[in-house]
């Protein structure tokens, strides 16, 4: 096992990065967020031509049979671009839940013909999975708030009592204003919705898998913030010098770089080994680094950083929302207490 990137992963990265640079630079994301946040054309290309939708799906179901570390590289790039596509919600979270069932839906997801969402709050965690939905006679009732990716999903996958249920139509999905404008959340209401039992579901395991990969997306967000800020402080002059020549600023960026270097190692470790400890470590660290990087980026851009025109706010919103998603850093640290035997006071 290695924490470095393989050649295949670098090729995949280049393909995704190239496409995003052409089709969806941050300025384009900014333009669409108030009307139609998701870029479904871009998603079609990513899913179909680059084949990211089926990345984690075995070849027997028409997928690429790739590993989590390849999906992680895609997420780094999508984070870097705050790309408004449902890769994480559909091709990672929902797909991972479905994988255990071997359901035929997998084939439709692999081809990108359909998109799915896992009907749990995006703020649920591997350590707290309580369900708000009841099942009676094959019908679902209840309301789930804060579901990411639901508004563009063709299928909702609803975990109830250790089993997974698929709902296609028949649920009320109401998009609500979301802190992260590039990954909208919706309130999903089931009022006796017809559901198909697709098989077993270990929800905690699915959320842990997602949390581990989310660390790579957070790394991408942090990298963009650092790179963009470096470019800015080299160019922007005050007091007849580039502001990047002031030591107060250089030292902050050196520290931020070191945080990002460690976030990269943590993300790689979570993606390649995926153990409960690696995931908890990566989430405890990377969630904070992404937020800190976005906050530093905003501050060091000065007034420009506070404007709607500059995309840095998209990254701040993505970072802050992702910090809460799938367990806060504190939740993950609390989990480490028992995982690595550092128990609290008795």
């Amino acid at each position: 096992m290695t924490l470095l990137y393989s050649e295949v992963e670098e090729e995949l990265r280049a393909a995704v990065r190239g496409l995003l640079a052409d089709r969806c630079p941050p300025a384009a994301v900014l333009k669409r967020i108030e009307s139609e946040p998701y870029d479904l054309d871009l998603w079609k290309t990513l899913a179909g031509e680059i084949g990211v939708a089926g990345l984690l799906i075995p070849e027997q179901y028409g997928g690429a049979g790739a590993s989590a570390s390849e999906a992680a590289v895609v997420l780094e790039e999508l984070g870097r671009g705050v790309a408004p596509v449902p890769f994480f919600t559909s091709s990672v979270l929902a797909t991972r839940a479905l994988l255990a069932t071997g359901d035929t839906l997998l084939e439709e997801l692999a081809e990108g013909r359909k998109t799915a969402a896992l009907a749990v709050p995006f703020a649920a965690s591997p350590y707290r999975t309580g369900a708000a939905v009841r099942l009676e006679d094959g019908r679902l009732t209840g309301t789930v708030a804060g579901v990411a990716g639901a508004d563009v999903a063709d299928v909702l996958l609803v975990p109830v009592g250790g089993r997974l249920h698929a709902v296609e139509g028949g649920a009320l999905v109401q998009a609500v204003p979301s802190l992260d404008q590039t990954r909208p959340v919706a309130t999903v209401t089931f009022d006796g919705a017809e559901a198909r039992d697709v098989g077993e579901c270990d929800l905690a395991e699915v959320l842990r898998f997602g949390a581990g990969l989310l660390a790579s997306e957070q790394l991408g967000v942090a990298e963009w913030c650092l790179d963009t800020t470096l470019a800015h402080v080299r160019e922007r002059h005050q007091f007849a010098r580039p502001i990047g020549s002031f030591q107060a600023i250089k030292h902050r960026l050196a520290d931020l770089w070191l945080d990002v270097v460690r976030a990269r190692a943590a993300a790689r470790s979570a993606a390649t080994d995926g153990s409960a400890v690696s995931v908890a470590v990566a989430q405890s660290w990377n969630a904070g680094v992404a937020v800190h990087a976005a906050e530093e980026a905003l501050q060091l851009h000065g007034g420009i950083g506070m404007t709607w025109e500059h995309p840095v706010h998209l990254y701040l919103k993505r970072a802050k929302a992702a910090e809460i998603a799938l367990g806060t850093p504190g939740d993950h640290r609390a989990a480490l207490a028992s995982l690595v035997d550092v128990p609290g006071p008795e």
């Binding site: 470096l230 990269r264 943590a266 660290w285």
Partner: protein, 387 residues
Amino acid sequence: MNEAEIKERVAAFLAEHDPDGDRLEFLRARFDAGLAWVWFPEGLGGLGVSRELQQVVERELAGTPELNAGVQGIGLGMAAPTILAFGTEEQKRRFLRPLWTGEEIWCQLFSEPGAGSDLATLATRAVKDGDEWVVDGQKVWTSGAHHSRWAILVTRTDPDVPKHRGMTYFICDMHAPGVEVRPLRQITGEAEFNEVFLTGVRLPDDLRLGEVGDGWRVAQTTLMNERVAIGGAPVRRGGGMVGVVTDSWRAHPELRTHDLHQRLLSLWVEAEVTRLSGVRLREQLAAGQPGPEGSGMKLSFAKLNQALSGFEVEFGRDLGYDDWTFRRSEDVDFYGRGPGYRYLRAKGNSIEGGTSEILRNIISERVLGLPSEPRVDKDVPWKDLPR
């Protein structure tokens, strides 16, 4: 050479040499077998193979006589790579073997009272006299000078050119007449470092390392290696200083508080991500693609070691100390001493081997490409600089 072949080599070596016999004999034989630093050239302790194979050798030779990393740190971490890069064949053959076996201990005569972070302003003079150089000056904070046989030394040989250009690098004979070592007591009570006075010390020209006037470039090699040596040692998950702290945490449930628990978990995470980036760094080095991560290792190591050692004192609620008596320490017995010692000694981690501020300057300028500070000393001959 691959992993299997190197294992065979080690096995053949072990068949010939008894690890339970004489320690020094064993270490000498290991050097001669090329199993000291496998990436060094043959005949100089190595086999000229990829650096990553060293890990295999270390694994295979676990439990056999070991080097004393504490006392030999400067020789192994700094002198050896510099001699390898700049030494003559004769110098390499003369110095590397006893350096590695620990028969000859090394120290580093760089810092001076007036030249610490700004090492290139140093004033210790070396003047050519026939085939010899005569050295006069004062060095300070020299770790281990009291038990060293040799030193790496930077001097000023041309005061009329700007500071970086007028320096020359030497190997200094610590037994030469005119070398005087005086203990310098530290905040821990002991004297691990020293003042070194050099008065009319005569060094033959064949102890010069690199060209006359090229001392700054040679010193850069030393300093870069020093940073990796201080911060880059491999540890296992939960090991090192965080291991010391968690062991005592586990042993003392009665001392635990919620506040300390939160802080310890955060430090545990920081230690783990730092460890993982060290693993990545070593993988990159082994794959022949040295990344800029190296400069960051020492910075994060210093910060963590200080936070953890401060935490340890607070957790133990121990107002005592182990031993304030003045003594000349043989090495830095960091883990062998108590929490109070660790807390105080760790304060040096952000000063020795380049301060954390200087490392941040290096990272921001050389890794991140940010503009350098306005330089007031550029193009000014050393002798005209304000000091």
